[in-house]
Subunit: 344 residues, 2 copies
Amino acid sequence: MYAIVPAGGVGSRLWPLSRRTSPKFLLDLEGHGRTMLQTTLDRLAGVSDGIVVVTGESHAAAVTAQLDGVRAEVVAEPSPRDSMAAIGLAAAILHERHGDVVVGSFAADHAIAHPAAFHAAARTAERIAAEGYVVTIGIAPTAPSSAYGYIEAGAPLAAPLEGRAVERFEEKPEPSTAAAYLASGRYLWNAGMFVVRTSVLLDVLAELHPELHAGLLAIAQAWDTDAREESLAQHWGTLPRMVIDRAVAEPVAARGGVAVVPAEMGWSDIGDFEALAELEPRPARLAVDAPGTYARATRPVVVVGVPGAVVVETEDAILVTTRERAQDVRLAVDALDGDLEGLR
Amino acid sequence: MYAIVPAGGVGSRLWPLSRRTSPKFLLDLEGHGRTMLQTTLDRLAGVSDGIVVVTGESHAAAVTAQLDGVRAEVVAEPSPRDSMAAIGLAAAILHERHGDVVVGSFAADHAIAHPAAFHAAARTAERIAAEGYVVTIGIAPTAPSSAYGYIEAGAPLAAPLEGRAVERFEEKPEPSTAAAYLASGRYLWNAGMFVVRTSVLLDVLAELHPELHAGLLAIAQAWDTDAREESLAQHWGTLPRMVIDRAVAEPVAARGGVAVVPAEMGWSDIGDFEALAELEPRPARLAVDAPGTYARATRPVVVVGVPGAVVVETEDAILVTTRERAQDVRLAVDALDGDLEGLR
C-alpha cells in the first residue's frame, strides 16, 4: 500500500497555537517532541511502500523540513482545491508510476493512541481494497459526539474479508441522534481514512466527475517530466472543488461498493481544546472552584471559579475560553481584524 | 489638620498584581502613572499641615522612595499591630510635638474620583472635630453593596456644624439588608476615614484601652529622642491588636460622640478586580459572547464565551477568574504553596 497524507487545514479552533503560517499538522500538540505530521508519518512508515504528502505550496518547505529522515514525497498544490483533488492527484501520480496499486489516505493531523491497532486495521483494509472495494476505517465511538460524521455499518463481507458493508454516511448529527447512533452499535465515526485501488478510484472519478478525472490524469502524466509545472498551471486551477466523502464515498456506498473496517485505536482529530484536554490533560497550576481546567502557558496559571477554563498563552496572544465553548474559538479567529489580523 | 495614612494590607484579592512585597498601596492600579499611595498623598497635601505615613518596616524604604517630593514622615512599625496601634502612635507623636491638634486618618489605597469633594468634606470634618467629636466621612452609597460596612446617620448636628450624629456602625450586611439600607437613605458606606482631636482620641484610649494608651504614650515620648528604638522594642510588641472602628468609633458612637459628614466623591476601595474594572474598564481586545471582560496583560487577550472574564498577566503568573468571583481570588492566594509560595 502507498500512503497519501493530505496536509491542509489550519485548525482554527486551536488558535492561538495554530496559525495560517503554522497550521495544526505542523504543531507538536501532544507535547511529546514530534509534530502531528511527524507522528502520522512515523505511524504510516510501518504499513506503506511509499508516502506522498499533499500540502499547500506555502507549507511545502516546512513539511519537507519535518520529514526528518522519513522517505516521503511532498506534492505541493498551487492553490487549495479540497480533498478530492489533493488525494486524486497523489493517486493518479502513483497509478502512473506503479500501475494499479492500493492507496490509503490518512489525515496529517489526527492522533492515534494505539498504532498497532491502526496498523492491523490498515492491513485489513488493504486486503479488502484489493478486491475492488472503496474501504474506510471506522472508529468505534466512545461517546455520543456531535462533532463527527458517522458511518452506518451493514452486513459482514463474505469470508475471508474481515469488514462490513457500508449502508450510508451520515453528517454530524444532533446530540439526540448521536446518542441513538451510539446505542444502536451500528454506527462508527468517520475519520476520513480511505483505502482503495487506484484503478477503482480513477474509474469512479472518470464516471462521476469526468472533468476532475481528465485534469488529474493530465497533471499526473506530466508529473515526472519537464512539463509538470506547465501542466499544473494549465489544469490545477480548473479542477472542481470537492471533498472525497461527497465525491466518491457516498455515491459508491449507495451502490454497495464501500466497506468499513471497525477499529478501536484511541483516535482523536484534536479538533479543539476540549479534545486536546481529553488527550493530554494540563490542569491549571492552581484551580479554586474550577474542575477540569486546561492551561498551556509559559508561567503558572491560576483559575478561580471558571470550571473547565481553557487558558492558552503564546508569545503574542492569550486565549481564555472554556472546554464547553472550545468549538467557538473559530468565531474569534474569524473576527480577528485590524491590528489583530496578523494573529490569524 | 495633620493627616495620618496607615499603609498596610497586601490587597490579596488583586493578586497577581499585589504581592506581600508590593502591596496594593504601592501599585499604580489605575494606570495613570501614580501609585495609590502617591495619589493619596497628592490629595492630602491640599488639606493638611503635615502627613505621617505609618507602614510596616519591610515597606518603609519603598514608601519613602514613593514620597516623590511630598513632605511626609514615614513611621515604620516593627510588626503589624492593626489600625488602632498604627493610627494611635501617629496621633500620639503629633500630640507630643504639636499639642492638641486635629488629625485625620485616611487609607493609602483608596481611590477618589473627585478630590475637591473630598477636600470639602475633610474641612467640614475638621471643623466638627475641633468641637470634640470623633468624625467620620461617610460615602453616599451608589449601590446595595455587601462589601462595605455601613454608618447609620441620625439627627443633624447643631448649626453651624454641617454633619449628622452617628447612630451606630453596621458590619458588612447581607444583600437584602444592604438593599434596605440603600432605600432608607439613612446609611452611608464606612470608608474608614476618621477625623478627631488628638486629645479626644487619647482620652478615649486612656479610658477604654489603658494598656494601649500607656504603650503608645511611652513610645511617642521617646520618638524624637535617642530612646526611640529602645522604646519601640520594649512596648510595640505588647500593644493590643485592635481596629479603630471597634476600639473607638463604635463605643463613642454609642454615647453620642461620633458625627458623620456625608460625601459624594467617587470613592472606591478597589477591593477586587470587579471594583477595578468598574473604575477603569479594560475590555479584552476581542470578546465573543463575553460582555464585561477585564484584561490586563502585555499581549492581546481574546475571550470566548466567558462573560465578565478577568484575565491578569504578570511576568510570573496568569490569573483567570470572573468579575462575579473576583472576591474569591483571596482563596487562591491563600492556597499558594509549594513552588508557588514565592508568588504570594
